[in-house]
Amino acid sequence: MRSIIKIRNLHYSYPEGTKALKGINLDIVQGESVGLIGPNGAGKSTLLLHLNGVLKSTQGSVEVLGMKTEEKNLVGIRKKVAIVFQDPDNQLFMPTVFDDVAFGPLNAGDSKEKVRGKVSKALKEVEMEEYGERCPHHLSFGEKKKIALATVLSMEPEILILDEPSSNLDPRARRHLIELLKNFNLTKIISGHDLELILEICPRVVLLDEGRVMVDGDVRKVLSNKLLMDSHGLEVPLSLS
């Protein structure tokens, strides 16, 4: 199995001096679903933003699909690595759902016909085919979340990254999202505090704290380790306790 994400000794400091990542080493294999957990401020979101070159490392390297996250490779990497952000209002910025879902394919230089096809397929995948002409502002939070997912699926990525996918969702919308994610045949990296969701979708979990990888292993073993979870400000999920 080949590693499609290789992170070596990754360090990152924010401009004001906060050290967010301190020597991260991580390998992710094609087709894997990996959960990224840790307390607030552990560096989860910062790490995710390195995977398609939105943030540039202070030290160390990130290699995605054989390409280093350098300026010359960013167009290629961003076609293959899709990020769904926590707040869908930050992801949906176009006047209509259709335009939002078409945004990525248009930037990739696809033809009109191809863009239409990709938009229609992506909306179908999240079961929102009828929403193309709707204004994102008038959708419910759950609907926005699904459309945000469609905006990256239309780019036909190889790696799907989700930052806190279930935050603010009601139980029904959350369940629907979990079922959708289970069916996506992609490499998935899911960050968040919804440990039950991670337990259901990801066989592997990486625990991050203070900018370092603390544990990387089998999801059940890690999440059921009460001592470990407590020491990093986390809780053993109810289904494992």
Binding site: V54, D87, D89, N90, T96, A108, E133, T151
Partner: protein, 253 residues
């Protein structure tokens, strides 16, 4: 928060709805320029009637137009008052130390008619097309891309900005703060508005990340589906002829 969107009635069917957005923007812009440059009250009055007729043809309800027009009317009312009282000329009315001149009232009428007419023309121009299509049309007719992005983000985020503002004020009210006309209240209000700006700035950073992640390189690309027909050219010609006739009418007088 639900504000009345300008393109709320863009899905109706009328000769203006079926008008190609590019030619519609060009021809109505000419018409708007024509009415604001009129120097004759009768011409401006005909222009206003024409604007009402076009609004009627567009099938956009007048009640909806009034919601948007009320602030313009308020502004015009203030302008009307100031001009009537400040432009020198033959005395029409004297109220204590205030004097109203005939020339002032005439100029106020002319400016009011032109302003209301011009604003009314915007509704059949913008209100009969979905906002995203209008943006695409603007892009096609050569409006700078940065300006279009500015329009787009303003339209998309104004609702969110207002929602956020509302939430901040509710949070302040729930902790016992009430709006008053004193320094302390103004101080708090300044802080709340400042916080709103900080949050908006933060949002722009997240937004940038989301856009860059999807291949954004500074240029906005929107899919267009425009097709010109002979009807579009007839409508454009008619509107431009009317724009010229408005001025000819003044010259003949």
């Amino acid at each position: 928060m639900h504000l009345p969107e300008i393109d709320k009635f863009a899905n109706l069917k009328s000769p203006l709805h079926s008008f190609d957005p590019r030619l519609k923007i060009i021809s109505f812009s000419i018409l708007i320029f024509s009415i604001v440059l009129l120097q004759d009250i009768k011409g401006a009055f005909i222009g206003l009637i024409l604007a009402v007729v076009l609004v009627f043809l567009s099938k956009i309800p007048f009640s909806f137009i009034f919601i948007h027009l009320r602030w313009v009317l308020l502004f015009i009312a203030v302008l009307f008052l100031i001009i009537s009282l400040t432009v020198p000329g033959s005395l029409l009315l004297k109220l204590s130390f205030l004097s109203v001149s005939r020339e002032g009232v005439k100029l106020s009428f002319l400016i009011s008619l032109r302003a209301i007419g011009a604003v009314l023309f915007i509704f059949p121009m913008i209100g009969t097309t979905k906002f995203n299509v209008t943006l695409t049309a603007l892009q096609k007719i050569g409006v700078p891309n940065k300006l279009i992005q500015l329009f787009m983000f303003t339209y998309r985020y104004i609702f969110l900005f207002l929602d956020e503002g509302k939430r901040i004020f509710i949070a302040a009210n729930s902790r016992g703060w009430t709006k008053k006309t004193n320094i302390s209240s103004l101080n708090v209000m300044g802080n709340l508005v400042g916080m709103l700006l900080v949050r908006s700035f933060e949002r722009t950073e997240y937004l940038r990340d989301a856009m860059v992640s999807r291949g954004y390189d500074g240029r906005l690309r929107i899919l267009d589906e425009f097709k010109l027909s002979s009807k579009d050219f007839i409508k454009t010609s008619l509107i431009i002829i009317i724009a010229i006739l408005l001025h000819l009418f003044g010259w003949i007088q």
